[in-house]
Amino acid sequence: MTSQREHSPPLAIDAKHLVKRYKSKTAVDGISLQVAPGETFGILGTNGAGKTTTVEMIAGLRKPTEGSVKVMGLDPFTDRAKVRQILGVQLQQAYLHGSLTARELVNLYRSFYPNPLDTDTALAMVELTDKAKTKFDNLSGGQMQRLSIALALIGQPKVVILDELTTGLDPKARRRVWGTIESLTEQTVILISHAMDEVERLCDRVALIDAGRIIAQGTPDELKAQAAAQTLEDAFVALTGKDVHDDEGDE
């Protein structure tokens, strides 16, 4: 079993050789990731590289065709109820009850957890106190994203997955979201992005994913050194042979 870890805490994420195959397509082709508790770990890749499928397998939303995954030592499929307590997820472009206000949504989501954050604390954390009475439908894109982060954190999870959280936001809104992420010192954060500056600024370590495989993994500095590049973006281009600009939308 896990005798080698008898005296050490489990990894926050321990994914081994994850493969996800659809009829004619292999979306994820043997990805292994180990993330230590407290780390902010970036998964970087162009659209369609397999990032979201990878985290959906970690979150227990998609069963891997092959391989295994553990979140804080728990299996997201067999220990589903327990994993839901310790894993907070912000899904890419997930919508909420549009006619409910920010406060009503926070109250709704906090009712699902045994030991949730206080409603006012959660709203203040993502700077939405003054939008508490605004309906979700009337929030700006950035405010929706920040509320989404608050809901991912409402159950006081140990691990948080944030998927493409600043896509489509203006530069000012992005910086505010980054500020929120930087304030998360207690949690392990898995950040999925195709924005190089975001990953370089926020992440302790990064995995570069291309065509369903990890092509390089390390700290941003290590990746730059490996590719003899000045920026993470240059390193990405050098290591994958792909230009990321076409996929970055608002960059």
């Binding site: 227990g60 030592g73 307590q85 709704l108 009712s111």
Partner: protein, 258 residues
């Protein structure tokens, strides 16, 4: 310690109440959606009220022609519009916008939304019926069913049948738009054959028979029996129960949370 000590926790009563409250707010704040289930039955009620000849004539002791023909149709319409048009449209929207998926990564399950929607739908049914009864009694001198308990049992069976049909709509509709379209076609189809636009016995025989084997017609016939205090025919129970079972089966096989 080899294992993370985490207690599995299921959302409790508070979560259920919050979710029902959330669904209720969604329905109330999307008030345009209430016009069809609350307004259309009233429209039909008034239309029947002014067009039925001898509407005050009694068919049985204390049961007027109007009560016998209009109220069963109106009650069935309230249930059918809510269950077959409105509820699937909410579920299809939640699916498309990934709201159900968002809930799937919390300790709450997306199935809780389904149940909450059904609870809120049932509250709407009660309100819609209350409104229709109030208008019918105040302005058209209508009467309550002779067998109120049978009427209540038929109402529950009618809800189960229409929810079943609504779940089929929600299961086969790929988008919120198509859900409204399929819901409307299904509703008008069973309603036209079931007596919404006039007594079903005025339809050609083949259509009347077909209508009585569909949940709208079966519900209307069953309610009519309750109104004049007769026993509901076995065929009516069979159709209503069968619709619920078939709906649940189709939903179990085809309904997608995402």
């Amino acid at each position: 310690m080899a294992h993370t000590t985490v207690q599995a926790h299921r959302p409790g009563l508070k979560a259920w109440l919050r979710l029902i409250q959330a669904e209720a707010k969604m329905v109330i704040r999307d008030y345009a959606g209430l016009i069809v289930p609350l307004g259309l039955p009233l429209l039909i009620l008034v239309m029947q009220g002014i067009s039925i000849a001898d509407m005050h004539q009694e068919l049985a002791e204390g049961v007027t022609v109007f009560s016998y023909y209009a109220l069963p149709v109106v009650v069935t319409m309230v249930v059918a519009t809510i269950a077959v048009i409105n509820m699937p449209s909410f579920l299809a929207t939640y699916r498309k916008t990934k709201l159900l998926r968002r809930l799937a990564v919390t300790p709450a399950s997306p199935a809780m939304v389904l149940v909450a929607q059904m609870v809120v739908s049932f509250i709407q049914v009660i309100l819609g019926i209350g409104l229709a009864f109030a208008v019918a009694m105040l302005f058209f001198g209508a009467d309550l069913p002779q067998s109120p308990l049978t009427g209540l049992a038929v109402l529950l069976a009618c809800c189960a049948a229409m929810y079943g049909l609504g779940m089929i709509v929600a299961s086969i509709a790929p988008t919120p738009n198509s859900s409204v379209a399929i819901g409307l076609v299904a509703f008008f189809g069973i309603a036209a054959l079931g007596g919404m636009f006039g007594p079903a016995e005025n339809l050609p025989d083949a259509l009347e028979t077909l209508g009585s084997w569909l949940p709208f017609g079966a519900a209307v016939e069953a309610f009519q029996a309750a109104w004049i205090g007769e026993t509901v025919e076995a065929q009516n129970w069979l159709v209503l129960g069968g619709s619920a079972v078939i709906g649940a089966g189709v939903a179990a096989a085809l309904f997608r949370w995402e």
